[in-house]
Amino acid sequence: MAQLPSTAASIAPRYDEGRLFSGTTEKAMKINIKELGPAFTLVVLALAFSILSAQFFSMSNVQAILESAAIPVVLAVGITFIIVQGSIDLSIEGVMAASSMAVALLIANSITTFDYGWLAIAAGPVFGLAFGLSNGLLYTYLRLPSLIVTLATWFIGLGVATLLFPGRQPEILDGRITMLAIYKPFGLSFLVCIAFVVATIGVVLQNYSQFGRMSFAIGIDEKTTRLSGNSVRLHKILAFSFMGVLAGMGGAMISAQLAVGNPSAGQGFLFPTISAAVIGGTLLSGGKGGVLHSVNGVLILEVLRNGMVQLGVDPYLRHVVEGIIIIAALVVGNWQLRARTRVVK
């Protein structure tokens, strides 16, 4: 038989999200409406609450939501890079506690005699950086699950905060830090501005820096990334360090809001931060989502929480309603994305 050139009836099925490649190549950078589910969720929730409660969409309530969102947004930006890489950081609360104490004790306060001013405020992120860097180093060099490493540093952070706790909360006397929460040039505090700046930096890092892009690569396929010679280790360490800095900032921000150093400063931030990221579409399995997704997730949770108060829902049943709304919102928002061979963990 004559040797014919091999004719490949080419392989067309596509393998991500289980979607078939449909005919011709899609236009680049086209925004996929289907992926905007979580954003719609936010809009729909906000609309629903506005209809149900007259005050919800008032200027002052929107401000209240933004103020409440400031610290969670800062944390969510940090956790995004870690989750995108497929890792997790549980140490946030411990880092915040230690940083909050450190800031309060180094700035003019009611307990110690230190008065380092701005330097003391910088101690928050610096403390955080130390924790984050340790997380990254332990994680990548000992090859231990990040869940475990950061669980350990969480408790170490709490221990450090307890060690620093002098028996009563140090009251912050330096007006420069408390002013960050109080002074509102445009109806929004500096803390909200900080959150905005951090989110912007996050978006830029995500889209323009090698660190950001590499984080996505690591999350979707760490092995190939490593095999291609890119330093997975470096970028993991960077992500944890960045998270550490932001958690340290979060601790300082809490101190600014409460005008005290608080060893339980971080309490109750970890879980909502991770949930916000996931609800916004930054999936724990890695490689998906991004900074804006996570920020959107934070806003969803804050709107829900605020809306419940606006409606005066029974404080116990509130959790039931929130739980159902979260599930329902994601079910509806994701319905279009469903496909037989799509895998969601």
Partner: protein, 333 residues
């Protein structure tokens, strides 16, 4: 030559025994390493606190560990398929509260009601997770909220004593120094472990955890498998709640909620991969014990609270550094 390539008789005994040898060596390694770590931790504690090695001490510790072990074992199933169930601890509280409320009318039949309801809620979670293709994290997070709110609402946030029941107090009692709760927990774990090893369900769970797409194409009923995993997780969680109730005699709507983290940590400490597909119930059981011992160890050494926390952190690190099989897990997240 060591390749099968040349094998002629396909039923060759040698190949078979080689396969079995390698498999059991792997299984052994998977269990022995965490076990040795556990013993090591016990040895360290005994060194600083010799009284720990008494029968009395060990049964006391085992009694306390039983509910957590139930939770760890249940959570392990969901983690094996690569998911996560955040609702387990809240489910435990909810079940205890529910039993206390219904037991005056239902008596011990209430236990069946509670366990079935839990399994059903778990199943539902699995179905929603699979059908709507939303992360298990979110479904179980929402469920957590629903259970939390319901438990508080139906009790009006009040702790209440368990009325008359025969089975629950029996769970909390001991025979010849052996706490019944521990026996039940271990029996459940063994039952589950055997199920995973000797039924199709077990293989399917691992396949879904390792590579869901390939499992689907190979005919694994991914949806039901996931739903069953969540049902098992919730069922065990409810069991844990009842076991905990047997220890306290009182229920309260948040009584077991703080078990969530130790439960997940126990699974990972035992050498299971959080990303799924690697490990098993046995590992989880030992991991749960390690998690308990680490926590107790920090108290037994009599340090001040700040150092208790720091030591806890370090001990968790060290024990996982010892138990984890880096070769098998490969990429560690």
């Amino acid at each position: 030559m060591n390749f099968i390539q040349m094998a002629t008789s396909y039923n060759s005994r040698e190949r078979k025994s080689e396969f079995k040898r390698i498999s059991s060596r792997r299984l052994l390694r998977m269990l022995v390493v965490p076990l040795v770590t556990l013993l090591l931790i016990c040895a360290v504690i005994t060194f600083f606190q010799p009284r720990f090695l008494s029968l009395r001490a060990l049964t006391a510790v085992a009694t306390d560990a039983a509910p957590l072990l139930m939770l760890v074992v249940g959570s392990a199933v969901v983690i094996l398929i690569g998911g996560i169930d955040l609702s387990v601890a809240t489910m435990a509280s909810f079940s205890a509260v529910l039993l206390v409320i219904i037991s005056p009318t239902t008596g011990d039949l209430g236990i069946v009601v509670v366990l079935s309801l839990a399994a059903f809620i778990g199943y539902l979670q699995g179905v929603i997770h699979h059908r709507a293709q939303i992360p298990s994290f979110v479904v179980s997070f929402g469920t957590l909220g629903v259970l939390y709110g319901t438990a508080h609402y139906i009790t009006q946030a009040t702790a209440a004593p368990l009325g008359s029941s025969l089975i629950i107090p029996f769970l909390g009692a001991k025979t010849a120094g052996v706490p019944h709760g521990l026996v039940v927990a271990v029996l459940c774990a063994v039952g589950l472990s055997l199920t995973l090893r000797f039924t199709r369900l077990g293989r399917d769970l691992f396949a879904v955890g390792s590579s869901e797409r390939a499992a689907l194409v190979a005919g694994v009923k991914v949806g039901p498998v996931k739903a069953i995993a969540f049902a098992l997780s919730s069922f065990f969680a409810a069991g844990a709640g009842l076991m905990f109730l047997s220890q306290t005699g009182y229920s309260s709507p948040a009584m077991a909620n703080n078990y969530l983290l130790p439960a997940i940590v126990g699974v990972v400490v035992g050498g299971n991969a959080i990303s799924g597909g690697v490990g098993g119930v046995g590992c989880a059981l030992i991991g749960g014990l390690i998690a308990v011992m680490v926590r107790l160890g920090t108290v037994m050494l009599g340090l001040n609270p700040a150092f208790q926390n720091i030591l806890f952190g370090i001990m968790v690190l060290v024990s996982v550094a010892l138990t984890i099989d880096r070769e098998k897990i490969g990429i560690i997240k």
